[in-house]
Amino acid sequence: MNYIDGFRDPDAAARYRVTLAQLGQELADQGGRACFMEVCGSHTMAIARFAIRDFLPPAVTLVSGPGCPVCVTDPGYIDAAIELAGQGKIIVTFGDMMRVPGSRSTLAKSRAAGGWIESCYSPVTALELARAHPEREIVFLAIGFETTVAPVLAMLDTARRSALPNLTLLVAFKLVPPVLAALIADPELKIDGFLCPAHVSAVIGANAYRPFAENHGVACVVAGFEPLDILYGVEGLLRQKIAGRATVDNQYNRVVRPEGNPVAQRLMDHYLMPAAVSWRGLGVIPASGLVLRPEFAQFDAEQRHQLTLQPGRPNPHCLCGEVLKGKIRPAQCALFGVACHPDHPLGPCMVSSEGSCAAEYRFASGVTP
């Protein structure tokens, strides 16, 4: 733990508090304010867990972006997974998906009603189940951003090489750069900078953000997930804002390379191709997802069972879409903490521990004792 402790040093954090206060004052003296978006759910979680908003000067707002894969999964996808469970398939999923509301039900309720639904920490669980139950079809719920896509494909690659006939993916992979482009194009949104994801960037590379900085004037800082990484990242964004610059600053260069991870990229390109996909709360965004190439249709649960993913019906009062776009804070939604809370989530942002609403509900930060 000594390695991690170095990134959680309270004395260093106290120095960032002073630095950020000075920079915040400098910006306020210019008559400015800054709004930065942390794109990734793991950042949202760390910001809440370590009470990082407590360190921000008044002139700086940090809003949470669409980077929790569970939160942006369309209700229609959950409906399809429930349908497959009802047909006797073994569903394997990351645990956070269990309580995500579909149009009518959840996977947790489907399991209680007799569906075989396994939650897993690693996609490899699906391989093990496929080998152990050759008579059943195993459907892996393949959601996630670039970080998750690569290990899921590594699992699929193993299944294909060992000619396992009973393993399929229900694919809802999503890509970070296209959704950031969609957010920038929204005239209602005014974002001065992106705190770019740590591990997604390890796959796609820091260069992937250059168009946002160079063409749209949005500062981009790639930051790690530890609290000092995040404070350092906010400092970097604030310095760019004050100087009127917009560049890509890779502060997580102990992991992220400019070009990313070419092995993972080749694997993704081999199996997948871009497609327009639906994001809960954001709608359909062109080329923002990845689907299996036609030659791998046998591994595609949607094609194999002729499912057509229907856009689901989210709760009409749920403002998760606005939260995901960073337009409102969770507490500004009328359902927040009243009808919608972690034990009874109505919207996706309340379900995942990485969701903005769950994080804000659990870790309401900035309390003054």
Partner: protein, 336 residues
């Protein structure tokens, strides 16, 4: 016994049932009130102030690093009595066995029950054995009730908690839940977490002379420290402030939590005591606890506050403040 596995007939009341009881139960627990297999144990206490508790144990896997379902059942029941300010005296042992359970496994579990009961100074006074069909339970379930004598001097009530009181924990948090998770997920490559399944009654009895300053005690099992502290503060006119830097964690447990994204405030311990006490007695209690192996890592983790009424506030590792909420949903099913 001539069989390697539990058969339905072991629960049928006939010869095999009798064999199971005499060979596996009476050999281990037959020296006391259980000797003549009465329908009810005859017990006598000097005190009329007793504490009575019950619990069910369904943990999977049945054996895990640091213990098994047998010692867990004893410790769980003993600890519920201890944190109520009682000296544990008698336990019941209800066994629900699945057809096909390997007898060697049952013996290991019963040996653990025997050892743990001896270590806690409690007597298994009554019990029951049932066998269910394959598939109707997951190997072995245990139910256990416990009777304890109230220790003089303890007056444990939430309304005695005052601002300025100290919050103490007797050892590392979250080891049991982490050990179960590691065992289920097959993590064996690094410092594997080890369950802290162990009794806390010595930690309580040893500080009985300071009982006047002890306000309240709990053991942070399911839901972890966050749940216990929230149960203490919800609806009260005081709050609590705890400091992340003071929280004791075992290195293997902390490493697993980082990898799995677990918040250890929500993870169960099975051999840890959380105490709220007057500031005047806190140091003396910690000093005594640290003389025992189960209290070696004891720490003062925070204070009771006059403001933030009804809330538990954490000062994070880097010095920010946030609310500590209870976990929602199932963090880990069937950990005890």
């Amino acid at each position: 016994m001539n069989h390697d596995h539990i058969l339905l007939a072991h629960g049928g009341g006939g010869r095999l049932s009798h064999q199971l009881i005499t060979q596996e139960i009476l050999t281990r627990f037959g020296s006391g009130p259980l000797a003549s297999l009465p329908d009810a144990a005859a017990l006598e206490l000097d005190s009329s102030r007793i504490r009575f508790t019950t619990d069910g144990f369904v943990v999977q896997p049945l054996e895990f690093p640091g213990g098994n379902i047998g010692d867990l059942a004893v410790h769980g029941t003993v600890n519920d009595l201890a944190v109520s300010g009682a000296r544990p005296r008698w336990l019941s042992l209800g066994l629900i066995l699945e057809e096909g359970l390997p007898l060697t496994l049952l013996r290991r579990v019963l040996d653990s029950v025997q050892r743990a009961a001896a270590d806690c100074g409690v007597i298994v006074a009554t019990g029951d054995t049932k066998v269910v069909r394959r598939g109707q339970c997951d190997g072995l379930y245990i139910t256990s009730s416990g009777i304890g004598e109230a220790l003089p001097g303890f007056d444990l009530r939430l309304d005695r908690i005052l601002p300025g009181d100290r919050i103490l924990v007797s050892g590392p948090l979250g080891d049991h839940g982490a050990a179960i998770l590691a065992a289920r997920e097959g993590f064996e490559n690094f410092h594997t977490p080890v369950s802290d399944s162990r009794p806390v009654h010595r930690l309580v009895e040893g500080v009985a002379s300071l009982a006047w300053g002890i306000r309240f005690m709990r053991d942070p099992t399911r839901g972890g420290l966050a749940t216990v502290l929230n149960e203490m503060t919800t609806g009260q006119d005081f709050g609590m402030l705890i400091r992340a830097r003071e929280l004791p964690f075992s290195p293997g447990t902390a490493a697993l939590a980082e990898m799995m994204g677990l918040d250890l405030l929500h993870v169960a311990s099975e051999g840890c005591l959380v105490m709220v006490c007057a500031a005047e007695v806190a140091e003396a209690i910690l000093e005594f606890w640290r003389t025992l192996p189960e209290g070696e890592k004891a720490r003062a983790i925070g204070v009771v506050t006059a403001d933030q009424a009804g809330r538990v506030i954490l000062e994070s590792a880097i010095g920010g403040l946030r609310v500590v909420d209870v976990p929602s949903g199932e963090l880990l099913p069937r950990i005890c």
